[in-house]
């Protein structure tokens, strides 16, 4: 299983008698862009929390970057990056301070932080803003910066939780350019989104419904299977029957 970035076998999480995640099984390949879709309340966040080493499963097996989700949570955390729309950077630190902070947390050495942060700032074209507070940046820039910071320590896997919510359509596309670039550099990308066009940009996607993985394939094959031309429709057909709704 060494070539797999993530493996899950019959992974289950139960809160009382509520099965938030119900025996899900899937693998994510190294360097793959893996889309993780589902209706509100389907159990996506619970799975993400387990895979990020923040929560223990009730039963089943899972590994992330080769580490076990029961016994090796700390190693998992060191080998992944995480970014969400809701929490990413500190508004009242400057761009450079944010990079330094996250680099430090993930144990990147000081000289290394210095060279890499200069590189990063110039790739993003933010030289003039480097000493400005992140709170002053437009949302689009913030999200692009947050992604760069999430992969600053060169993790094996990066988890992106609705990274493009509320972002304008141009920035959304630039953001996906960055995702493709990261994948080309060998980083595995695990991403959730409510934009169905973005599901098309993934190598493979899963759709979770009521705690179970109801479908997993390439976007093209899923459309073929559901006899439609749009991912929107695939999702609608799968999630329409969902009994649960929630966050």
């Amino acid at each position: 299983m060494a070539d797999k970035a993530i493996t899950c076998k019959e992974l289950t999480k139960q809160f009382g008698d509520f099965k938030a995640v119900d025996k899900i099984t899937f693998d994510v390949n190294q360097g793959e862009i893996f889309g993780f879709l589902g209706a509100n309340g389907a159990g996506k966040t619970t799975v993400m929390r387990i895979l990020c080493g923040l929560s223990y499963p009730t039963s089943g097996e899972a590994t992330v970057a080769g580490f076990d989700v029961y016994k090796q949570q700390e190693q998992i955390k060191r080998n992944i990056g995480y970014m969400s729309q809701k929490f990413s950077l500190y508004d009242n630190l400057t761009i450079l301070e944010n990079i330094e902070f996250y680099g430090g947390v993930y144990g990147v050495s000081r000289p290394e932080i210095k060279t890499r942060s200069q590189e990063l700032v110039s790739t993003l074209g933010l030289e003039k803003e480097a000493k400005k507070l992140v709170g002053e940046l437009p949302l689009g820039w913030k999200q692009k910066l947050a992604f760069s910071v999430a992969i600053f320590h060169r993790p094996k896997i990066v988890f992106l939780d609705e990274p493009t919510g509320g972002v304008d359509p141009l920035t959304r596309r630039q953001f996906w350019d960055m995702i493709y670039q990261a994948a080309a550099d060998g980083i595995t990308v695990f991403v959730t989104t409510h934009y169905m066009d973005e599901a098309e940009y993934c190598n493979r996607i899963t759709v979770m419904v009521d705690g179970r993985v109801e479908a997993m394939d390439t976007p093209a094959k899923l459309k073929e299977r559901f006899n439609t031309h749009s991912m929107d429709d695939v999702f609608y057909q799968l999630a329409r029957g969902a009994k649960r709704s929630g966050d």
Partner: protein
Amino acid sequence: MPSVSLQHISKNYGDVKAVENVSFDVEKGELFGLIGPDGAGKTSIFRILTTLLLADEGSATVEGCDVVKDYRAIRNQVGYMPGRFSLYQDLTVEENLNFFATIFGTTIQENYDLIKDIYEQIKPFSNRRAGKLSGGMKQKLALCCALIHKPTVLFLDEPTTGVDVVSRKEFWEMLAKLKKQNISILVSTPYMDEAKLCDRIALMQGGKIMSVDKPEAIVQSYPKPLFAVKAAGIYQLLQDLRTDEAVESCYAFGEYLHLTLKNDSTDEKQVLSLAAKYHHEGLEVKKTMATIEDSFIRLMREQQLESDIKKVKEAPNGR
């Protein structure tokens, strides 16, 4: 008389121009959409129209009432669902609804017809605290509370943000029903695909309105022939095409790339021969219709170009 009317409204927060010279009307019984990303100025407009925020410049009326002078009259007859869930988390579903009905001097029974379809869906949970509801149910309760005093105008600020495709679809079906009751609705959304469900829309970016029209008129006025292109290695194809000299613009749109040429040729053969030189497998080219998102991107680029030109013109000589 339009239900909502804005004339040259501007609002600044310090140096940030949140709303810049915005004018539009919402007609009686119209479903009008403000379409744009975060930071476009949508929420500021809602707050100005619901009399919660004073504009720096310009004037606005709601049902003929001035947003500054007649703010009390406006507050009595509009329904407002803010972007952030703003009901009382520790009151139950029924208590919240009762509270809002009482505030407006009415009862749940009096206007039950209006909310019946929506309220029936959350009624089994009427004793549950609002804070314990799921996202979709919170949204339905908030809509009920905004409707309980039978408003003539409804303001909905991003009601579908962060909500999945199925719930979004249901929500828009509810709006279509409310429209039939002759309620005027102003709704905002960052999802471009929802634009086509509105009677008319305003595309907003950076505090400015880029275009106001019927959604079908906006896509029809797309000035260039548009092509959809795909190949096996779609990301490589995107990189090849967007640096090609003959290509004006090229963006990913789901399964396909959308491409315009610098010339106005409508012949897909021209695109085919141009793309062929990059030797992609499974190359496919067809003509396609613009979507609202195509139009939005195009207008955004024009806006950026204009502001760049302005900057250059305003720059002191010798720079």
